[in-house]
């Protein structure tokens, strides 16, 4: 069974989800000023997925992420201050300003990278999982991917390979209903992405991605199975993104009121807070205190990012080859 959540676990889960939400809401606001370079793809609304999965992982476990990767990074333990500096293109960023939003990675905490290529992470986690298996280590690897990537050949190849090699991999499909501006109802040929699991000889399950506890339990069971040598699983979480594919997307393909309705009725943070306060495990005051601390953290990260130096000409050609 999945490890029972302690009070500290619940506080950590809430803090993680709130940090992701605050980070993304702040980027949404700041992007509109035109100061942030490039593209950002926001994870707001999907926090229960990254958090519910990564609460089952250690720093030795690996995850591969997507171009909507900020939430996965934060949940896996990447420092949000470095992330903010990276997104602002600063030398102090997680990747020294050379990666940007779509490529934040920190291998020291098992984060293999957000990925600008849809479906790029599937094969990579087969490799990290193979390394753990060959070394006799109990580490698992999780590939987060979206409904868009669910149709990529790399994901099919990786699912087959993970089963053939009996690897400790969890394929974690985040079905937010849209690949860019195309509905998964159009682009995915079966009712649920999880239905494809049987074709690759692995169990598949679909869970409510707005419910942290449901994700935590389902991912936890798959992760525990993989850790014990039981092989790969496919877990599909159905959820919604609160913003466009990228910032600036007018989202005319969505129904009027669609996002507001979800925010009002299904929001993962609201549901979580309601549950843990109603049963008396956590007080509202404790949650409020976390909110305030997280806001200060994100405010500080933005202030620091704005004042930190950009990379210089001397940085242009470093880190491209090993020199001997």
């Amino acid at each position: 069974m999945t490890k029972a959540l302690t009070r500290d676990d619940l506080l950590k889960a809430y803090r993680t989800m709130r940090t992701i939400r605050e980070f993304e809401e702040r980027l949404h606001t700041d992007f509109a000023t035109g100061e942030i370079p490039g593209f950002v793809h926001l994870y707001a609304g999907e926090e229960a997925s990254a958090t519910g999965v990564c609460m089952n992982l250690t720093a030795e476990d690996h995850i591969a992420s997507t171009h909507r990767g900020h939430g996965h990074c934060i949940a896996k333990g990447v420092d949000p201050v470095g992330m903010m500096a990276e997104i602002w293109g600063r030398k102090t960023g997680t990747c020294k300003g050379k990666g940007g939003s779509m490529h934040i990675a920190d291998l020291s905490v098992g984060m293999l990278g957000a990925n600008g290529i849809v479906g790029g992470g599937g094969p990579l986690v087969c490799g990290t999982a193979l390394a753990a298996k060959l070394r006799g280590q109990p580490y698992v690897s999780v590939c987060f991917f979206g409904d868009g990537a669910s149709n990529q050949g790399t994901i099919f190849e990786a699912m087959n390979l993970a089963s053939v090699w009996n690897l400790p991999v969890i394929f974690l499909a985040e079905n937010n209903g849209y690949a860019e501006a195309t509905s998964s109802k159009f682009s995915v040929a079966c009712d649920n992405i999880a239905d494809r699991a049987s074709a690759f000889g692995m169990p598949g399950i679909t869970v409510d991605g707005f419910d942290f506890f449901a994700v935590y339990e389902a991912a936890g069971a798959a992760i525990e199975r993989a850790r014990k040598g039981g092989g790969p699983s496919l877990v599909e979480v159905k959820l919604s993104r609160y913003y466009g594919h990228f910032e600036g997307d007018q989202q005319t393909y969505r129904a009027p009121g669609e996002v507001q309705n979800i925010r009002d009725t299904k929001d993962c943070l609201l549901q979580f807070a309601r549950r843990v306060t109603a049963n008396g495990q956590i007080s509202q005051a404790e949650l409020d205190a976390i909110d305030a601390e997280v806001k200060a953290l994100i405010d500080g990260s933005v202030a620091k990012a704005k004042s930190d130096p950009k990379p210089s000409e001397a940085d242009l050609l470093t880190d491209v080859y090993v020199s001997y």
Binding site: K96, G97, L124, G127, E157, V320
Partner: protein
């Protein structure tokens, strides 16, 4: 007299010695052992041409057969490299690049830079290349130019048994992704190869033959064609210097330029297509940086801008020959 083995045996020996030295070295690919899941013999093939034969039983669990799923297992090799393994993934024919290029050029090649220097990807991707086997358009290409274009990849094109062993050992020890290309026509070539382990550094060209009249820079199998041509030209009083870059990335530009400054004449022999090729790249290098030394135009000898044909009558016309090189050298010597 030193021991002689084939190019193919030298590859096998390099893999065997590195797998013995470092438990993190693994070999994976389609039928690199052969027979996985079948009722018959394991290590049935040892690679489609038998290059990895015997390693499966010597290094249990570390020679891993894969489905025919190049994106899947090449990507897995790259992922394993990110956490300290040293995988050698075999792509069989380099033409199969077409079904896994993203994992190579968008993933492996980019990680070190894109992650601010915090990732190492010590993966080797071995593949056969080249024409001459009547294998036609999808099993005969020379695609080193495509890899050479990509920053972050190192590209190795050994032309003889001694180099193939030392360069493969260096490739496995290198902390960047390495594309290691073996010309299939060289597998049976014999040469002197020391039994002990040795590494040849990247970016150091070999001066295969010294001469003062014409510099011939030749890639991979074309080094042999250049040697054949140089022997003929010697009889006619033209003394060629042959340079084998051994790695196209990094490229030893200094050795090439020093030779061109000495001879004043340059021929580049490259089996691939002419546009955006090693031939045009090296010709450009000499034109830009050794212009005042040149006594004659630079000549590029390449395959034509066509797919590799099947019929032997056409394929022989396709592949650059010693006669092409002889004619080019004579025309340069006679220029002005």
């Amino acid at each position: 007299m030193a021991r002689k083995i084939t190019y193919q045996q030298a590859i096998n020996e390099a893999l065997d010695q590195e797998m013995s030295r470092d438990q993190n070295v693994i070999v994976m690919g389609e039928d690199v052992a052969g027979g996985a899941g079948s009722p018959g013999e394991q290590d049935a093939w040892g690679g489609v041409l038998g290059v990895t034969r015997g390693l499966y039983h010597k290094h249990p669990g570390r020679v891993i057969d894969t489905p025919i799923s190049e994106s899947g297992y090449v990507g897995a090799a790259i992922g394993a490299a990110c956490c300290g393994m040293r995988p050698v993934a075999e792509l069989m024919f380099v033409d199969f690049l077409g079904v896994c290029f993203d994992q190579i050029f968008n993933q492996a090649a980019k990680f070190r830079y894109m992650f601010g220097g915090k990732a190492e990807t010590p993966v080797v991707i071995r593949a056969m290349y080249g024409a001459g086997f009547r294998a036609a358009a999808q099993h005969s290409q020379c695609l080193y130019n495509i890899f050479t274009h990509i920053p972050g990849l190192k590209v190795v094109v050994p032309s003889n048994p001694y180099d193939v062993k030392g360069l493969l050992i260096q490739s496995i020890r290198d902390n960047d992704p390495v594309i290691f290309l073996e010309h299939k026509a060289l597998y049976t070539m014999e040469g002197e190869v020391p039994e002990e382990s040795y590494a040849i550094p990247f970016g150091e060209a070999a001066v295969v033959r010294e001469g003062h009249d014409v510099t011939i820079v030749a890639i991979g199998r074309m080094v042999l064609k250049a040697q054949e041509a140089a022997a003929e030209l010697q009889k006619q009083g033209i003394h060629c210097e042959i340079i084998d870059p051994r790695t196209t990335s990094p490229l030893d530009t200094d050795t090439i330029l020093e030779s061109v400054e000495k001879t004043g004449r340059l021929i580049v022999v490259d089996e691939s297509h002419p546009r955006c090729s090693m031939a045009s790249d090296i010709a450009g290098l000499a034109a830009e940086r050794a212009f005042s030394s040149l006594k004659a135009p630079i000549r590029q000898i390449t395959g034509p801008h066509s797919p590799v044909p099947f019929s032997d009558a056409l394929e022989e016309l396709y592949i650059p020959s010693a006669a092409h090189i002889v004619a080019a050298a004579k025309s340069l010597k006679e220029f002005r």
